[in-house]
């Protein structure tokens, strides 16, 4: 970005009055995003800390709860999110190299992956709901033999974490899809190129962060018991 000070005239309007040059503005924006992501880590960190303690206290309940996760939907969703992060990274790369059309295409593909993730999540939520796996609402849990599990109340705590953690994650996904749509629209208007693409980079950082949260949620919620893997 060392040549940003010789930005052509059309980019002068990108510089806000209180910055000395585009480089300072870009550094400030990206740093702001990183600081924001730190707050997000602390936000999810509260739930992860609680999860850790309760899993230690109620290990069997957590295993029983985890057995009722749909392993395949979870795995497919993990792959979907990883792919979306790849296309997001490619969108940022396209911005860095001023390929205006490619930015839009990659962002649209990212949106599709994001919507696919949310769609699958809705299917999972629905099946948990109809099977009474929502805490506090006539909660049931059956063991392998179809009998009420002796760990029902502890699994209820597991499901409290499941709904809270994936719920807040899904909320972040919804916001993420909104943000990507917004910058996709601006990219389509030709707003971003190698001289000015900070919003693309920042939304990308946010998207990768939300992806990363899922990378932790997936093993913690779906893979506690290795039954699925060992057959």
């Amino acid at each position: 970005m060392s040549d940003s000070t010789i930005a052509v005239d059309t980019h002068e309007s990108d510089l806000q009055h209180h910055f000395a040059n585009l480089e300072q503005q870009q550094e400030a924006s990206v740093m702001g995003m990183w600081v924001f992501l730190i707050t997000e880590i602390m936000f999810f960190g509260g739930m992860f800390a609680g999860y850790m303690i309760y899993r230690h206290l109620h290990y069997q309940g957590f295993v029983q709860g985890s057995l009722h996760m749909d392993f395949w939907w979870g795995t497919i969703n993990t792959v979907v999110l990883l792919c979306s992060s790849l296309t997001m990274a490619m969108a940022v790369r396209a911005a860095q190299t001023s390929q205006r059309k490619a930015i839009v295409v990659f962002l649209l593909v990212t949106i599709l992956f994001g919507l696919a993730f949310l769609g699958i999540k809705v299917i999972e939520y629905h099946s948990h709901w109809v099977e009474h796996q929502f805490p506090g609402h006539d909660f049931h849990l059956l063991d392998e033999k179809g009998q009420p599990s002796p760990y029902t109340s502890e699994a209820e705590v597991f499901f409290s974490f499941y709904w809270a953690m994936t719920g807040f994650h899904a909320l972040h996904m919804v916001i993420g899809v909104g943000l990507v749509s917004w910058i996709a629209f601006l990219a389509w208007r030709g707003r971003y190129d190698a001289h000015y693409f900070t919003p693309v980079e920042n939304v990308g950082l946010y998207w990768h962060f939300v992806d990363l949260v899922w990378i932790y949620l997936y093993p913690l919620l779906y893979l506690i018991s290795n039954k699925h893997l060992s057959g």
Partner: protein
Amino acid sequence: MASAAVPLERENYLNKEYGIGSWLLTTDHKRIALLYLLSITFFFFIGGFFALLIRLELLTPAGDLVQADTYNKLFTMHGQVMVFFFLIPSVPAVLGNFLIPIMIGAKDLAFPRINLLSWYLYAIGGLFMLYTIVNGGVDTGWTFYTPLSSQFLDTQVVAAALAIFIAGFSSILTGLNFIVTVHRMRAPGMTWSRLPLFVWANYATAIIQVLGTPVLAITLMLVALERIFRLGIFDPQRGGDPLLFQHLFWFYSHPAVYIMILPGMGVVNEIVPCFSRKRVFGYRFMALAVIAIAVLGFLVWAHHMFVAGISLYAAMVFSLLSYFVAVPSAIKVFNWTATMYKGSVSFDTPMLYALGFIGLFMMGGLTGLFVAALGIDVHVHDTYFVVAHFHYIMVGGMVIAYLAGIHFWWPKISGRMYPEFWGKLAAMIIFVGFNLTFFPQFVLGYLGMPRRYWQYSPEFQVLNVFSTAGATILAVGYLLPMAYLLWSMRYGKIAGDNPWNAAGLEWTISSPPTTFNFDETPIVTHEAYNYGEIDQPKEVPVER
């Protein structure tokens, strides 16, 4: 820039534009600071009104003024309004917002629009709080302890939690803005070791805001989810643990205590050298001390839970760590004293407040050591001793520092001087009123009067009458500055750019400042405490 049509007054941030729209849509950090000033003053008087009702109820041992449930709501909403809607935004969002860009030689904060968004979030959170208040209130105590808050109360818990959640985001965004601004917006030559200590203090505060507040946000959300959807994370009947709530809550709320004192220390850091005409003593240690307090503040939360059933070993570790906080705090107090030593001290209003701060903060800090000690804490836990202790920090410390700062920088903010006589009088009234209110509470607590009780044994009445009398005096002390500061905006003496002969970039620009603060970006060549080189008209310059 100056318009020829208005020859009398130079164009500044106040008279550049007029009308409601020019304020509500402004991105100027100085105007946003004034928006905060107005809104936190509003909430200060709401919180103060609750406090007055509490003190009136406690005038007699019998519960005769309000019902027991109403009393619970009064102290809950007093705490929530004062902590989240006055103390936390007080110095950072008003004085920090106004001064940080100017002190580092910048035209604005790094993200002016996010700054405005912070204020709107604060306002929306405030509206939720007002909704809570007028729709029956909330009686969880400001701490929202579960399972009381999640299962047993039928009051506006969710609305209050949302109010604080939203105001929390305002606080997070202010902190984020300050961190990025201090890192990226400093003028040429403004190195980290030349940064004014006020900026250091707000920077340390911003770190706490950014790291701590999200944990409070998720904790309150989990309580809200538990109430709305009946999740079971804090429900002991289903294997949830109410103690986890306390851990998460205090992980934020203990550092939040330092959000409520560090910026006040920053204010005193600027005032003491100016009115002692001396370089601040031990600049580096002063800067490191605020960072140390911010970091240590994250390691002591469980000292609020000594009697909640945590393990003895954990309690001992947290007790020891709590003692460590006393070290940087003592460095601050000693260095302020050393700054005054052999200085040429004058006692203008800001300095009176600053001296009050040092004394009262010391009382609050030292009694903090009492309650950090396991044995004494078991005795005084949940008594008025604790109430007195944290009011010495929050009111004796932060509110007084806030008033000190408002008076010190009022000439810069408004362009006019406040009336010095009334200023000194109000400072004295507040000091006397404060001590009369809260010192008896130390004694009450030590004698065993529990906090949050609506009735008490008759033998405690004398001290409670003292306390209520003090609160009345304190109220007069708070109303006075309201009146004369408003008066001074129109009738005060024109201040000039540097009425205190103070060092620091904010005193090199016009009062009130122009919208972009500096006509051209300043080049900084020295730190902001070179009082040895500034002439004081009536005094001989003092060698450091």
